[in-house]
Amino acid sequence: MSEFQGVDYYGLDELLTEEQKQIRKTVRAWVNERVMPIIADCFERGRFPDELVPEMAELGFFGANLKGYGCAGVDNIAYGLMMQELERGDSGLRSMASVQGSLVMYPIYTFGSEEQKQKYLPALARGELVGCFGLTEPEHGSDPGGMETTAVDAGDHYVLNGTKTWITNADVADVAVVWAKLDGVVHGFIVEKGTPGFSAAPIEGKFSMRASHTGELYLNDCKIPKENRLPEAVGLRAPLMCLNQARYGIAWGVVGAAMACYEEALQYCRERRQFGKPIASFQLVQEKLVDMLTEITKAQLLCFRLGQLKDQGKVRHTQISLAKRNNCRIALEVARKARDLLGGNGITLDYQAIRHMTNLETVYTYEGTDHIHTLIVGHDITGIEAYR
């Protein structure tokens, strides 16, 4: 397989600034050198390449679109391109960057006190601390507002009780941003590894996102200091704002996975011969390739405009939902088509399609399922809530 070239059928590169292209170049080169040689093996063994975290930090991938506190402060299009290149490597890698940046650093940056920011943000940016985000619970996934985890004010500390599940990085995190109800209202809390009453365990047997840590968090009379509550995070709006940041990164990221699948399938179809000619010469095959390219191109345009809106501070969360929904759908479709075009080879880890395809099943579901984003946009355009 030759090195990733990127897909740019509509000359979008012309709209990118020098820095945006330079940033993409750094991430692309790093993924080629450090990720591609090992990722199939990581996936097969069900292992996240933890050894790459210091390099990701050094290159500035964590919280890259935040300003100050050791963060790079790149614009949102550059940030999106970074996510695209990371997910072109593997969705697990992009998940790591999404969780650390959008779900751990962003809430501390947005809702935290100055002391909390000073204490955690530079260390998270340097990768010395790894974070996780605990919202989902065994009985509350799409409906996080129903959460059962509680926080009780016990004078000079809070006591947390509850279970969180499907938490990326749960079993390796040094800090968890945990969402719990205090007097019936959702609040955010920073829980450090090693706090008595706080533990985590990995979830085994995943067939998707195998190169990513996923686990559960257990809070049993877990006492945390008063200063660990995020002062400005009050109500469900706060975690949903975090999810919006992460969903934005996903909308870009999955296009990277789709591009990897398309590029690989195109090359394969030109080389693989059946009935005496390359399979790319059959109309049915060409149609699939053209469909893939078309959907990728549309998704790229969507991302680019979304990035502009985000940089101008005008983006609405429903626009992010539309892009997350569309791009996850098309990425999964592209991966499935690529898998098909690779024939039997398509089911092996020697090629990328099946790895991306199974990963994308997670991405389709997490950060708001396809249904939920449909209903968010549906609510927006009709004024009628259909999820309850």
Binding site: E18, Q22, T26, G60, A64, C71, G73, V74, R270
Partner: protein, 254 residues
């Protein structure tokens, strides 16, 4: 210590390329540009030397305004300042390039003090004349070692190592001196996102050198046959023979 590193903007030839209609140049309209690989190593070496010994590094290029992109790349990796010797984009031969660079070094040195080391790549990835570094050393009357794969600065002296049929040649040079380095001397870093953002704020000085008459004129380029290539189906069975013969004649084997 003060280190100057000189780089050239070259087309990224990893991709496929075409020649211009007059056959004298590579058609660069659809190409990405980059810093020559040996020079990327020279940039890395400059950054490491300053990280080790303190001081300041600068990167210089002779080329069109667009070559500022390559300066920014070096600045993003950690070089402190940029200098652009701006041209109209036309070809400069190695003698003219070296003359302009030597003149610029004198100007920069009279303003900010001498450079202990001036680094070059052994040869550029496009023209590959192997001359510019050596000519600049000569013009500045400084000692020079070319093709260096190991470099140290100690007690005010540079030690340069060259690979020689499985062994090493080791040279000691007084400072200031000129060294041209080869790929393999180090593994160049990627610019970090923070570096890319701070590079925007770093200074790029612009000088406009006079272009002297060219002594060396490139007459033409011939494109090598494409490697790997694509296959073309000429037909099937006996029906394909006339076309196949035609092709063989076309490529000159019969």
């Amino acid at each position: 210590m003060r280190v100057l590193v000189c780089v050239k903007r070259v087309p990224d030839t990893g991709a496929r390329f075409e020649l211009t209609p007059d056959g004298r140049d590579i058609d660069t309209r659809n190409l990405e540009f980059t810093i020559s690989p040996h020079e990327e190593c020279a940039v890395e070496e400059a950054i490491r030397l300053v990280e080790q010994h303190g001081g300041e590094s600068a990167v210089l290029t002779l080329g069109p305004e667009a070559a500022a992109e390559q300066l920014r790349e070096a600045l993003a990796k950690g070089i402190d300042k940029g200098v652009l010797l701006e041209t109209d984009g036309s070809e400069w031969d190695p003698a003219a390039t070296a003359q302009a660079i030597a003149q610029a070094v004198r100007e920069l040195e009279s303003a900010d003090g001498p450079f202990d080391l001036v680094l070059f790549g052994n040869e550029s990835a496009d023209a590959g004349y192997y001359q510019v570094g050596v000519r600049v050393a000569d013009a500045l009357d400084r000692p020079c070692v070319a093709g260096v794969k190991g470099l140290k600065v100690e007690n005010g002296k540079a030690q340069a190592r060259r690979e020689a049929s499985g062994g090493w040649e080791i040279y000691e040079l007084p400072l200031p001196c000129v060294v041209t380095v080869k790929e393999g001397i180090n593994v160049p870093r990627h610019p970090s996102l923070r570096g890319i953002m701070t590079a925007k704020k770093k200074e790029i000085r612009r000088l406009t050198p006079e272009k002297p008459a060219m002594q060396l004129v490139k007459k033409g380029l011939r494109k090598p046959p494409e490697r790997g290539g694509e296959c073309e189906i000429l037909g099937e069975g006996v029906a394909a023979v006339p076309k196949a013969v035609e092709k063989l004649k076309e490529i000159g084997v019969i």
